[in-house]
């Protein structure tokens, strides 16, 4: 049994390399030892026996969770889902974990306080990853919108023999008159041009 001051050996199972890197860094900074990181699809039965982790953090959407559950009938020191050892006050925390996409297993009886810090780090990193993903998606769509507007502007310049600035102003006026976004107007112009081409 590990005491509260000892570092925990942690196994990470996740298909997102960026997220796993974020988490590994944060756990190492907190003094834990990430024994290995695995993508889903591996034979967890063998790896868990081999690596002897104290805690397993696994993506809540990994189908391999059931493989971990299945180990309980096979061996005494089997992983047990963290959802079961939560004191009543921690139930909310488990819900946060599920919502963030984190599930966890403990092997043996590591100190609960240490497990909780691991869980908190995992939740925070998973949420951070989700935020980064959202920001990236927003940035991508903003970029895509700008590209549409540029292409539409080119079409207007060519068809109405306008300069760049005049074409842009014509588009902005049209969008304001119709009460639609510039990007929507741009798509409509491109679609119409494609149709007429």
């Amino acid at each position: 049994m590990s005491s509260a001051s000892e570092s925990l050996r942690i196994l990470l199972v996740d298909d997102h390399p960026e997220r796993i890197a974020l988490l590994e860094e944060a756990l190492s900074a907190a003094g834990h030892r990430v024994v290995t990181t695995l993508a889903s699809g591996v034979d967890l039965n063998e790896r868990v026996a081999e690596l002897a982790p104290d805690v397993i953090i696994i993506d809540v959407d990994a189908p391999e969770r059931d493989m971990l559950e299945g180990m309980q009938t096979l061996q005494r020191k089997a992983p047990r889902p963290v959802v079961l050892i939560t004191r009543s006050g921690d139930r909310e925390r488990i819900r946060d974990a599920l919502r963030a996409g984190v599930s966890a297993y403990v092997v043996g009886e590591p100190a609960w306080e240490r497990v909780r810090t691991v869980l908190n780090v995992a939740i925070a990193r998973f949420e951070e990853y989700r935020r980064l993903e959202r920001e990236l998606a927003d940035a991508r769509s903003a970029l895509a919108e700008r590209k549409f507007i540029e292409r539409a502007k080119g079409i207007i310049m060519q068809q109405r023999k306008l300069g760049e600035e005049a074409a842009y102003h014509a588009m902005r006026k049209m969008a304001m008159d119709r009460n639609i976004r510039m990007s929507e107007l741009a798509r409509a112009i491109i679609a119409a041009a494609d149709l007429l081409a």
């Binding site: 699809g41 034979d43 039965n45 809540v60 959407d61 990994a62 189908p63 391999e64 969770r65 059931d66 493989m67 971990l68 559950e69 299945g70 180990m71 309980q72 009938t73 096979l74 047990r80 889902p81 959802v83 079961l84 050892i85 139930r91 488990i94 819900r95 599920l98 919502r99 599930s103």
Partner: protein, 401 residues
């Protein structure tokens, strides 16, 4: 104009009957037998009963369980045995649970690696002979306390094979079964459809036994929720059972089977093709080595309600088999456990409101593949009468409690 006292009373009675929740969130695992939930949600069958059904896929039984226990979903399509596992805390997680109705009977199978054909394995008997002269083999099921583990154990044991000693068993996610068997890391698996059919259709394995050949008309998936949910929302629970009874009745009609398969595929419930789901849904089997048959006990979702009633004897069978395999702590009151979990009263109200008949008795009688009659009597003694079972612990040791 103000309402008369009688009208006010009417309204109050009507209001008191209304479901407490307008939306019911249901979790399911992608399998052919989640059809009643899919049909209920996609055909909007809850509207007549004052609820809207929203479904969400769950990537594993563990995540389905955790979301149920944390209240992220209200009820779920669930392996029969898993509900009792949580009720008794067999894998450590204990919560009072409720089974609202049985969702289906039959329709699972055991599939064996085609390589074993070359070594003379055709059926249970030849498999038992092969096992005696071969290195240890590996067999997969879908959850340690689930139905597939118990069908696999029962079938192996009926051929004199001890599932705890003579083979290695492990849990594998059903969509990965055929691929793992193709890599020869396991020799056979027991799973639901379409993942059993897929092993055959992709040429990896053959069907050595259907679950209905182990126990004709066995209970399989149930509609489960926590007891706290059904107690806090009795009207919602009843409306949910009524909705799913109508969905199950619809899904059971042979004329609707193609529509059901299309809903499962086109609405994203099961990542497979219609022609991988439809044949076995209709009871058309081929075993992958030349045998074709029309199954006398195909998957059943309703059968006039006999499929759906949460029989006490069905629940007792799972506890009896858990006891057989050494999974139960001592001093479990089998009957009290089943009576607390299987919500026959809620089911009775829902079925009666729809004019669906109730059985005369909460016990039913069946004969399983090994000739053993099961009627729910003496579940503990019946388990101990099997020649193949977990060896009792030596005196002085007790099972965990």
């Amino acid at each position: 104009m103000s309402a008369t006292p009688a009208e006010r009373l009417d309204r109050r009675v009507a209001d008191s009957d209304a479901p407490e929740l307008p939306v019911v969130r249901l979790g399911y695992v992608p399998l052919t037998d989640c059809a009643p939930l899919a049909v209920a949600a996609e055909l909007g069958l809850g509207a007549r009963h004052g609820i809207r059904i929203v479904t969400q896929p769950e990537p594993s039984w563990a995540t389905l369980r955790d979301r149920l226990l944390c209240g992220e979903i209200d009820a779920a399509h669930c392996l029969y045995g898993l509900v009792y596992d949580v009720q008794l805390g067999l894998l450590g997680v204990q919560r009072d649970m409720a089974i609202l109705m049985t969702l289906n009977r039959n329709g699972q199978a055991i599939t064996v690696d085609n390589h074993l054909l070359e070594q003379g394995v055709r059926d249970g008997e030849s498999l038992a002979r092969w096992l005696r002269r071969s290195p240890p083999s590996t067999w997969a099921h879908t959850f340690p306390t689930g139905t597939h583990a118990l069908w696999l154990y029962y079938w192996l044991a009926a051929h004199g094979i001890d599932p705890l000693d003579d083979v290695r068993t492990l849990t594998v996610p059903p969509p990965q079964m055929a691929a793992r068997m193709a890599q020869q890391t396991m020799q056979g698996y027991c799973a639901g459809e379409p993942w059993s059919a897929l092993g055959v259709y992709t040429g990896v394995g053959f069907t050595i036994a259907t679950s209905q050949s182990i126990w004709p008309d066995h209970p399989e998936k149930v509609l489960a929720c926590t007891r706290a949910f059904s107690e806090r929302h009795p009207q919602t629970a009843r409306a949910l059972v009524m909705t799913l009874l109508e969905a199950a009745r619809h899904a059971d009609e042979p004329a609707n089977h193609e529509e059901v398969a299309r809903i499962l595929v086109n609405c994203g419930y099961v990542q497979a093709n219609v022609d991988q789901i439809l044949p076995r849904l209709c009871g058309h089997y081929h075993d992958g080595r030349g045998s074709r048959w029309r199954d006398p006990h195909p998957i059943s979702f309703h059968a006039g309600g006999t499929t759906n009633y949460p029989y006490t004897s069905d629940g007792l069978w799972f506890l009896s088999q858990f006891h057989r395999w050494g999974m139960l702590p001592d001093r479990i009151d089998f009957e009290a456990t089943v009576q607390a979990v299987n919500q026959t009263a809620i089911y009775g109200e829902a079925a009666s409101a729809l004019g669906i008949p109730l059985p005369d008795s909460p016990m039913r009688s069946s004969v399983l593949m090994d000739g053993v009659r099961w009627n729910g009597d003496t579940p503990r003694e019946s388990a101990e009468a099997f020649p193949v079972r977990a060896r009792p612990l030596p005196a002085g040791h007790s099972a965990p409690d």
